[in-house]
């Protein structure tokens, strides 16, 4: 493994300019209460079609000079009513809807949904499936953080990290394609298992990615972590304290950057995450820079989890050997009457989920991703609800941006790591 080219700690050194102003020039809310100019605030509309909004997001800003007085986000441009559509589909047919929400980390959404349904059904998936899902989810965390890293850097005018990050993302796209046949709309999970077993050579390719990726990460690290422009644009911008962050419902890296060590993988573990060795990086200042550091460190931790998971990936079946839950193999269907009947019943009726409701949260790349499913025992859910981490994180943008400059709003928005497909659903 390549050696780290840059050492940094999550605490901030004084020469980076923490206390008493920033060493890299004025960036802090300039008080522009200039006498005599007290006219109406100027209204500026950013978006919905603007590259810096990272999706179809519209921000209506009221400005005093260049200082933001208020930001009103307008969302819903991508609304496709996935939750309503889900009520008209059988349990397994919902899986394709889930990856269309967060197209930056589709497999986490696939997994989270079926994990919720499995919990409601009381189905325990096989050991191989568990470990494989952990591999997929950690891979997606890197996948999503890389997009965030690239686009955030490009918002700051740094083009190179964007290219480096996307080169690496391309490798994960290839892994998606090799396993699922699709690059973005993976739809890889089924209730009780996965769509297929791991293809030959897939794990080797993942290992190759794991071998080469740290080098790129170090390169990006060297470009950004101690870069004066980056520090100046991110430190002390969009600060939120830990109490406020919890009260505002922040989760994921955004919350941890404010110093709250809440990680679903540690606090409410699923899939034996408690047995993996990894650290939860915590920030101190709750600003854009700490959110950057936390995500960078999370990628390294995910690499560690991936190495451990690959090592412990057991053999055996991928799907639950229960014909009421998972489809029998093709060979059995063709040769065994009973299997064919099960196949027929599963395809026409779908899996049977007992009445009840279940809220299952996983640590998504953007925060706590909860799936709330309600069943009345029928072939379709009564209600399927996503607890959208980006949606909740975005709702705080007005509070974060108040008093900052318009250019800081772009940085704050980027640092929240939102995906509009999931916000609008």
């Amino acid at each position: 493994m390549a050696t780290k080219t840059v050492e940094y700690s999550l605490s901030r050194s004084p020469e980076m300019g923490v206390d008493g102003g920033n060493a890299h020039g004025p960036l802090f809310p300039v008080d522009v209460a200039e006498p005599g100019l007290g006219a109406d605030p100027m209204v500026i509309n950013i978006g919905p079609q603007h590259p810096a909004t990272h999706g179809v997001l519209r921000l209506v800003c009221e400005l005093d000079g260049e200082t933001i007085l208020k930001v009103t986000p307008h969302i819903g441009y991508l609304h496709s009513s996935f939750e309503k559509l889900g009520e008209y589909r059988t349990w397994n047919q919902i899986v394709p809807l889930t990856d269309r929400m967060d197209y930056l980390a589709p497999l986490i959404y696939n997994c989270a949904y079926v994990m919720s349904v499995e919990k409601l059904m009381g189905v325990e998936v096989t050991e191989r499936c568990k470990v494989f899902r952990v591999i997929l989810m950690e891979m997606e965390r890197i996948f999503s953080h890389l997009l965030w890293l690239g686009t955030t850097a490009i918002d700051l005018g740094a083009f190179t990290p964007f290219l480096y990050a996307f080169q690496q993302r391309e490798k994960i796209y290839t892994l998606h394609e090799k396993y699922t046949g699709a690059r973005i709309t993976t739809s890889a999970t089924r209730v009780g298992g996965m769509m297929a077993d791991i293809p030959d050579g897939w794990i080797d390719e993942l290992k190759e990615f794991l071998r080469l990726f740290p080098r790129t990460l170090d390169e990006i690290d060297a470009l950004l972590t101690t870069n004066g422009i980056h520090l100046g644009r991110t430190q002390n911008v969009g600060v939120i304290t830990s109490e406020e962050a919890v009260n505002c419902g922040f989760t994921g890296p955004n919350l941890r950057a404010s110093g709250v060590p809440y990680d679903v993988r540690k606090d409410n573990p699923y899939y034996e995450y408690e047995t993996y060795e990894f650290e939860v990086p915590i920030g101190e200042h709750g600003d854009c820079y700490d959110r950057y550091l936390v995500r960078m460190e999370e990628m390294r931790q995910s690499l560690g989890i991936l190495h451990q998971a690959i090592e412990r990936l057991p053999g055996g079946p991928m799907d639950v050997p229960d014909t009421h839950v998972t489809l029998p193999t093709k060979t059995d269907c063709m040769s065994d009457m009973e299997s064919m009947i099960h196949h027929f019943k599963l395809i026409t009726d779908g899996v049977k989920v007992p009445p009840g409701d279940c809220y299952f949260a996983v640590e998504g790349s953007k925060g706590e991703l909860g799936m709330y499913v309600v069943s009345a025992g029928g072939p379709k859910p009564v209600r399927w609800r996503i607890r959208p981490p980006s949606f909740v994180n975005l709702s705080v943008i007005s509070k974060l941006a108040e008093g900052h400059l318009v250019s800081d709003l772009i940085m704050i928005n980027a640092s929240l790591d939102i995906v509009l497909g999931e916000i609008d659903r």
Partner: protein
């Protein structure tokens, strides 16, 4: 090759013929945890009759049904009592079961210090969809309650800014996630197209009272609203 085998008596084949395949005989981890939840006991002790019902769902998830009139009081206690300390409101949503059954407002709570979760539900009759807002307690509830209002039509008393969030602000077809709402919407496709095309972008969310948002005018002197631009062309009326 198993073609020659006769299906054994009582097999799934027989069951399918008789339509008997019902309960999932699943490899179940039946976590029939009847373990009581510390919060539920404390809630019962304090709010007595207002805690209507307690159930365990999906093996180990505790659900408490509380009186809708006292939701803010109960949730405030859950948030502020040091022994409970549910400081993270993960989610607010609603469930409509259809068939005139009461609509449920669901709060997912999580306590970061105690690592404990709880689901609180309030049932509202369809004739009176009104409940106190918990926005003063958790800022999270701001957008989440707006979403419930938008998609279910529950109005939250005391919410500072209760308007539609995912659907357009002038959406007139009702509340989409209600069971009586058809999947394609209430209006015809033609009417939906007509409405979409006749929107004036300047009405969309520019803060009121500010003249700036309306400033750009047509070269002729009239505003965009007066001009023909905002009218859809006849060919596009659907």
């Amino acid at each position: 090759m198993r073609d020659h085998m006769e299906p054994p008596a009582g097999s799934a084949f027989e069951a399918v013929e008789k339509g008997l395949v019902t309960g999932p005989a699943i490899s179940v981890r039946l976590a029939a945890t009847t373990v009581s939840h510390p919060t539920v006991d404390a809630l019962r002790a304090r709010f007595r009759a207002s805690v209507q019902h307690h159930e365990i769902s999906a093996g180990d998830q505790h659900v408490v049904y509380v009186e809708a009139e006292r939701n803010r009081e109960i949730l405030q206690w859950l948030k502020e009592d040091p022994a409970q300390h549910y400081d993270l409101l993960s989610d607010v949503t609603a469930v409509d079961f259809g068939g005139g059954q009461p609509l449920q407002v669901v709060y997912q709570l999580w306590s970061v210090p105690h690592c404990r979760g709880l689901r609180v539900k309030c049932e509202l009759p369809l004739t009176a969809l009104e409940i106190d807002s918990v926005e003063p307690l958790w800022r999270t509830a701001d957008w989440l309650e707006r979403e419930v209002f938008d998609l279910f039509g529950v109005s939250f008393k005391g919410h500072p800014d209760l308007r539609r969030i995912l659907m357009p602000e002038d959406y007139a077809e009702g509340h989409p996630l209600r069971k009586d709402f058809p999947l394609r919407g209430r209006f015809t496709r033609a009417e939906q197209t007509r409405r979409a095309l006749s929107q004036d972008p300047h009405d969309q969310g520019i803060p009121g009272g500010s003249s700036v948002g309306r400033e750009p005018q047509m070269p002729g002197g009239g505003t965009l609203e007066e001009s023909d631009c905002s009218e859809p062309s006849p060919g596009l009326r659907g």
